[in-house]
């Protein structure tokens, strides 16, 4: 899974700490998702997508083989 979190954060001018507060998770969770070391739960994925006004598929992208 590829995540566009870093790119979208830069677009909106959020740091990890601010995004974490908005998504009601820890900064560590945001950092793990960005480093692609952890796949977020559906709830967190939807929350993050809403913050950026994007669809979940647009924020978290899967390779065809993964699906």
């Amino acid at each position: 899974m590829k995540s566009r979190l870093k790119e979208l954060r830069a677009r909106e001018g959020y740091n990890q700490t601010q995004l974490a507060k908005l998504a009601k998770v820890s900064r560590q969770t945001i950092s793990l998702i960005e480093r692609e070391e952890y796949m977020p739960s559906l709830l967190i994925a939807v929350r993050i997508a809403r913050i950026f006004n994007e669809s979940v598929e647009n924020v978290f992208q899967f390779e065809e083989e993964e699906l």
Partner: protein
């Protein structure tokens, strides 16, 4: 895997050093050196914990924004992890120092110092909850819930990874300890039967607990 191998090599090396000291010198002298060394290490670790706490407090007063804020948060997280490691290690080393001072040295001064260190390190461990509040003022303390209950998904992922690795080390090191205790008993004539049985029971209880939790889900 590399750290497990390093841990085992250090453990085996430590065993042979103490084994040598016990065999080739006066037992009391070797015992006193061992207890004093453990007390010294425990004291250093307690000092490190206090120092880390001061650093966390200092970082908390900084007013930063942007990427710098993330760097400060990351630094605080690592300092807290160092604090936990130091205070945990000092607690267990103080227990070891206390036990050895009672069994080997039988010196009241060493026993008293060990007890003081044990109380200090216990206080530091207990104080961890307060530090979490310093670090995450938004989180309301809930002493009825475990760390796993209050952690979010990402933190749980990290905790699970850590617990899995620590469980593997626990199994390997207890099996190694049973082997070494058996070798020691056979060579030295001093039976370690009681500790061997205890270690085997701990292995049995810990692994059965894990497997039963999984089975019943």
């Amino acid at each position: 895997m590399k750290s497990i191998v390093q841990f085992l090599i250090s453990g085996v090396a430590g065993f042979f050093v103490v084994y040598g000291l016990m065999n080739f010198s006066e037992v009391n002298v070797a015992g006193e050196i061992t207890v004093i060394s453990i007390i010294a290490i425990s004291f250093i670790l307690i000092t490190m914990s206090v120092f880390r706490f001061q650093q966390i407090k200092a970082l908390n007063t900084q007013n930063v924004t942007g990427d710098e804020e993330d760097e400060v948060e990351d630094r605080k997280y690592k300092l807290f992890a160092d604090y936990s490691l130091s205070s945990n290690s000092s607690f267990y080393l103080s227990i070891l120092a206390l036990s050895l001072s009672l069994i080997i040295t039988e010196q009241l001064s060493m026993t008293i110092v060990s007890i003081i260190l044990l109380v200090f390190s216990f206080f530091l461990l207990h104080y961890m909850g307060k530090i979490i509040q310093y670090m995450y003022p938004d989180r309301k303390p809930n002493y009825a819930k475990s760390i796993l209950d209050v952690a979010d998904d990402g933190e749980k992922h990290v905790i699970l990874d850590g617990l899995y690795k620590s469980q593997s080390i626990l199994n390997i090191s207890l099996i190694a300890a049973i082997t070494l205790a058996t070798v020691y008993s056979m060579n030295n004539g001093e039976s370690q039967t009681f500790s061997i049985i205890l270690m085997a029971v701990i292995l049995l209880v810990v692994n059965s607990k894990y497997l039963l939790v999984i089975r019943n889900k």
